[in-house]
């Protein structure tokens, strides 16, 4: 591998990694608070990119900067509302039910979102317009370094830092941590648990909506099933880092993204096997993930 190729691959890996990290944060936060693997989270990503597409092709005639900003904002708002509605309608009634029932419900929601998208937009893939500037910044050894990967990484890192501050330093953040530890005790503190859970879904969906723009532009198209793959990968990233842990999700996202990009360079047919293989090894060595805390059950 030449140094230039290495650098480009590295940048691509970071780009994919930051998208995974953004989605993984949604998984990890929801899991942390309601102990649910939200299988529909990947599909929120899909919905987000369709909203952007819809705004830029049907609502606005010209793809001006303003139109793009509004489109992204619309995607965020729509995804947040969708996330909250899904939680209230499908997950909330199951808070005290066995966890696997909620999991099956999440699978149902995921299927439903995919099929609805298919009914509205058709099952074919549609080209995704350019939303974020993707100019060549400079060249290394005649290979261009583009702006999209760089912007993706920067925005993601800023969002992650903001999120970390929010959760650890603010009052709503503290409420989120309290609810995730003990819902009943949190209610006794005067915390509105349902609002706090909605807030968690809202944050997760915001990150997914932002991620959807980066992801759709990277792959260049949208289609109803586009969310499953990054969804599962991001979920693996969250587990890899230690589900429930915010720094863990970020670490996991970047590790999985980099690994996938590099393995893809050498032996593309083995990408999935390597990613899952690594995950299995990590779980066997550190069952709670890289940064997760092992909880010893009290006997």
């Amino acid at each position: 591998m030449k140094p230039a190729t290495f650098l480009i691959t590295l940048i691509n890996g970071l780009q994919l990694g930051s998208v995974y990290a953004l989605i993984a944060l949604g998984y990890t936060m929801v899991y942390g608070i309601v102990k649910l693997i939200n299988f529909a989270h990947g599909d929120i990503l899909m919905v987000g990119s369709y909203v952007v597409l819809f705004m830029l092709t049907t609502v606005f005639a010209a793809q001006t900067l303003l139109a793009k900003v509004i489109a992204v904002a619309a995607a965020i708002v729509f995804c947040v509302m969708l996330g909250i509605v899904i939680d209230r309608v499908a997950y909330k009634p199951l808070r005290s039910a066995p966890r696997i029932s909620a999991l099956i419900t999440a699978i149902g929601v995921s299927l439903a979102l995919q099929i609805i998208a298919q009914l509205i937009f058709g099952s074919e893939q549609i080209k995704f317009p350019q939303v974020i500037l993707n100019e060549t910044l400079f060249k290394i050894d005649k290979k261009p370094v583009k702006s999209l990967p760089i912007i993706t990484c920067c925005v993601s890192v800023v969002l992650m830092i903001a999120l970390n501050l929010f959760v650890n330093k603010t009052k709503p953040g503290r409420a989120m941590r309290a609810v995730s530890e003990d819902m009943g005790a949190a209610r006794l503190m005067g915390i509105n648990v349902n609002n706090t859970i909605s807030l968690t879904f809202a944050i997760g969906c915001t990150l997914a909506a932002v991620g959807s723009v980066f992801y759709a532009q990277k792959v260049g198209y949208v289609k109803p099933l586009m969310g499953s793959l990054p969804g599962i990968k991001a979920f693996i990233a969250a587990v890899f880092g230690g589900i429930g842990s915010i720094p863990g999700a970020v670490l996991g996202g970047f590790v999985i993204g980099m690994l996938e990009t590099f393995v893809n360079y050498f032996a593309s047919q083995y990408v999935d096997a390597v990613v899952y293989g690594l995950l299995i090894v990590v779980l066997l060595v550190r069952p709670a993930g890289m940064l997760g805390k092992a909880v010893r059950e009290k006997v």
């Binding site: 309290a178 530890e181 209610r187 006794l188 503190m189 005067g190 915390i191």
Partner: protein, 233 residues
Amino acid sequence: MLKVEGLNVFYGAIHALHDVSFEVKQGEIVTLIGANGAGKTTILHTVSGLVRAKSGKISFQDQNITTTEAHVILKHGLAHVPEGRRVFSQMSVQENLLMGAYARKDKDGIAEDLEKVYMRFPRLRERYRQMAGTLSGGEQQMLATGRALMSRPSLLMMDEPSMGLSPILVGEVFEIIRSINASGTTVLLVEQNAAMALSIANRAYVLETGRIVKEGSADALMHDDDVRRAYLG
């Protein structure tokens, strides 16, 4: 101050509370005693809104709070120290105490009350940055109590504060309850350790399988033959 009338609570098909009525007056320590599973904890959960009553009325300071949400009830001045303490073990001692003041907005008042709690429990001040999960059982009980006090309650409900504590700590915990009451907070106490509870309470109610079967002054109940036989041994 707190008045409960004709309370009926069901868990699925199980009738957990039958027509329970009792009241707590300003400045009192009232205790609910009874066997495990008699419904003591259910009463506290229903009063603080964690469990919904099927019928009956709960009023607190002349306001009907029967259907009020748990997180709103706290703002009326009613705090609940749950059974098993349930501190937030992944948070520091100080963060736990601040959680207790979550519903309050008066920064100065919170700071003042934090200081008061630290005065009352110097052990918590020593460990204010420690994770609550690493505290011993007795310290966690102090933290849970301090956390509840941070909401500046007029009525403090405590569920089995002596559970699982060694004899020396049990004495200490009851001393604390007495001093909290002395500083003006009304206390509703649920206890397995009936002898201890009666020794500090003004009045008491005896529960059996979801019904109140006896009530009276703590003194009278302490000398009641049935109570002595069943709960004082």
